[in-house]
């Protein structure tokens, strides 16, 4: 009894100190990962086959002098270690270089291409989380029931599907049309050529273009969330506190909503935070299939040249997003569940 009284006032102070140390540790880890990514980022693309000066200059450079000038302008004639130092310096000052192909700063290019991707993957992630959590919850709560068996079968099948194949099927069915069914949606693109994206009709036009890709990605991501939600709900269901909740006379729905789901949402929240990090890199294939001018399409186009600075920039943004999301997920988890801090 006395022990209990003495520990109570000390607890908040101690908890704050532990969380501070936890945050510091995680942040340090994130910085380490970032340094690793920078090193990989530079050297990975230097070993790519192909010479950008030759690929881009085909037909344009008539003399060896022009070739050398091109190399000099982009710093391609410097030794690799020198290039690496320049790269580090530039990255930290926010200069990502100039695209060899488009002749515009990479940061502008990425900024411009980021939004279609964020719009596409962001809305799919939100939809998939909401629907997935709900499906997983209903299935897990009545484990082995008709709904559970049906939803598990469907989600596992979706999980086993290459998402771009699903996209191709949806294009064939709803954009081209089968038999008497006319095509309802466009086969690709972000908006119609003549549409003004900022007007009301332009926004509707973009939404109309994004319907199929968003449905595809939502279905593809759905499985992750519903399977995790289902299994973490199953983990909670044997716990004693649920027995207590029932014993005090709560209705089944209330036991589920107030107690079981609250705890089961914890791992799902972490997974969501982690997946948001993959938003940037996650849509390469879907952007290819639906020809949406986002970061994924930019990356796969840049690979064929290879456009070093664009690749580096896109890769940096993609990995940076994952590292940041990782950090947020860890901090969130530490905040929600004090047990993981130690």
């Amino acid at each position: 009894m006395t022990a209990l009284v003495t520990t109570t006032p000390a607890q908040p102070v101690m908890r704050r100190a532990t969380y501070g140390r936890y945050v510091a540790g995680k942040a340090l880890g994130a910085v380490g990962s970032l340094v690793f990514v920078l090193v990989v980022n530079f050297f990975l693309f230097r070993i790519l086959p192909g010479d950008p000066a030759r690929t881009l200059g085909r037909g344009r450079f008539r003399t060896a002098k022009q070739l050398a000038d091109f190399r000099h302008t982009y710093g391609l004639d410097l030794p690799l270690p020198r290039q690496f130092l320049t790269f580090l310096g530039n990255t930290f000052t926010g200069h990502l270089g100039i695209s060899l192909r488009y002749r515009v700063p990479v940061s502008d290019l990425i900024w411009e291409r980021l939004w279609p991707t964020v719009l596409l993957v962001g809305s799919s992630t939100i939809l998939a989380t909401v629907i997935g959590v709900y499906v997983g919850m209903l299935g897990g709560w009545n484990r082995g029931g008709t709904f559970d068996r049906l939803s598990t079968g469907v989600t596992l099948t979706l999980y086993s599907m290459p998402e771009w194949w699903l996209g191709l099927l949806l294009i064939a069915a709803f954009a081209v049309g089968i038999g008497p069914l006319p095509g309802l949606f466009p086969t690709g693109g972000l908006h119609s050529v003549d549409a003004d994206p900022s007007s009301v009709s332009g926004v509707l036009d973009t939404a109309w273009h994004l319907t199929l890709p968003v449905i595809t990605l939502t279905l593809a991501y759905l499985a992750d969330y519903s399977l995790i939600m289902r299994s973490s709900l199953l983990d909670e269901m044997g716990e004693d506190y649920l027995m207590t909740a029932r014993a005090k006379g709560l209705r089944d729905v209330m036991v589920r909503r107030r107690h079981a789901v609250r705890n089961a949402l914890l791992p799902t929240a972490t997974i969501t935070a982690l997946n948001i990090g993959f938003v940037v890199s996650g849509a390469i294939t879907i952007e290819t299939v639906f020809s949406i001018p986002g970061l994924g399409l930019l990356t796969s186009e840049a690979l064929s040249i290879p456009d070093y600075w664009v690749l580096q920039g896109a890769f940096l943004v993609a990995s940076g997003a994952v590292i940041l999301a990782n950090l947020v997920a860890n901090l969130l988890y530490g905040l929600l569940d004090p047990r993981v801090r130690s």
Binding site: S33, L168, L234, T288, S300, S319
Partner: protein, 309 residues
């Protein structure tokens, strides 16, 4: 040398340590099979897989390999399914069914090869980072974490274009990019096994690190490795399909992914040539789903926490 073997109580008669071990192994194998048989979806997955493995092995008997050569194609361009071509023809006039049968070989082979690579790296690094202490363990753990944050597809694409397009290379690319998950799983298993009394006993009896790892820790994490392998094959086959679809597969071999790539590039979905798009995708889904079902069934058997609920 066989300290822990001699200490084990012999079940009946006088058996050598080796015989005892073998008996125990076959008993545990029988028990696993008995538990597995109860899992209906696991059995279904196993049956489907057996079918695909049969097709892969018997490919030369089921379809003439000449049917793979563009120059010897006998059908028209994108011909619809008929009595002669059960699943129609592709853009070169080859039978889609023949491509599908031979594609099974390539897809399964790449999937298994990539998984083997990934499992060796993942198990080794997981064991070491769980078993070592101090900075080597920390360094290995960091390395795993770093690889975990690098986005898979961009890295795989870059590696694939660096290494060149061949069957082995694509397996290597998938293998070296997909091990961190396994490493983390094995690490956490190793950490929990390390604290158990029988390892303490082995240490007291003078077992070195190598012996502790190979004779005690490894056999105990093996079931989890096995379950994880099946799940990794599923992911490896999906990755192979995606990389081939992006044009990074072996150009000389037909796989399900490369079929889908050519179907996409000739616009099969806009011309209504469903027989070129649907069958390869269905095969991928069936195989990946089966591996996942078998993997989940195994996981349930080897992880008692999952079995209880």
């Amino acid at each position: 040398m066989t300290t822990q073997d001699r200490a084990a109580p012999p079940p009946a008669g006088r058996l050598t340590a080796r015989q005892v071990t073998r008996q125990r192994r076959s008993a545990s194998l029988r028990r696993t099979w008995r538990l597995f048989r109860r899992n209906r979806s696991g059995l279904l997955g196993l049956a489907i897989l057996a079918g695909f493995v049969f097709v892969a092995l018997a490919a030369p008997l089921l379809a003439d390999p000449n049917g793979l050569e563009v120059t010897k194609a006998t059908g028209g361009v994108l011909e619809a399914p008929s009595g002669r071509f059960l699943l129609g023809t592709d853009d070169n006039g080859r039978s889609v069914l023949t491509l599908l049968i031979w594609g099974t070989r390539v897809s399964l082979l790449v999937g298994l090869l990539a998984t083997a690579i990934s499992m060796v790296i993942g198990t080794l690094l997981g064991l070491m980072s769980g078993f070592f202490e101090g900075w080597p363990a920390a360094a290995l753990f960091r390395l795993t974490e770093w690889f975990l944050v690098i986005p898979f597809l961009p890295l795989a694409i870059v590696l694939a274009s660096v290494l060149g397009r061949s069957l082995l290379n694509i397996a290597i690319v998938i293998g070296v990019t997909s091990w961190p998950g396994t490493a983390l799983l094995i690490r956490s298993q190793t950490l929990s096994i390390k604290e158990r009394p029988y390892l303490e006993r082995a240490r007291v009896l003078g077992a070195g690190r190598w012996r502790q790892m190979t004779r005690h820790v490894l056999p105990n994490v093996m079931p989890m490795v096995f379950a994880n392998t099946t799940l990794t094959v599923a992911i490896a086959i999906l990755s192979e399909t995606t990389l081939s679809f992006l044009g990074l597969g072996d150009p000389t071999r037909v796989s399900w992914g490369s079929m889908l790539e050519s179907a996409f590039s000739v616009g099969a979905m806009t011309t209504g040539a469903w027989w070129f798009i649907v069958p390869p995708g269905v095969c991928v889904v069936l195989v990946v789903l089966s591996f996942t079902l078998v993997g989940q069934a195994l996981e349930e058997i080897f992880n008692p926490r999952l079995r209880r609920r």
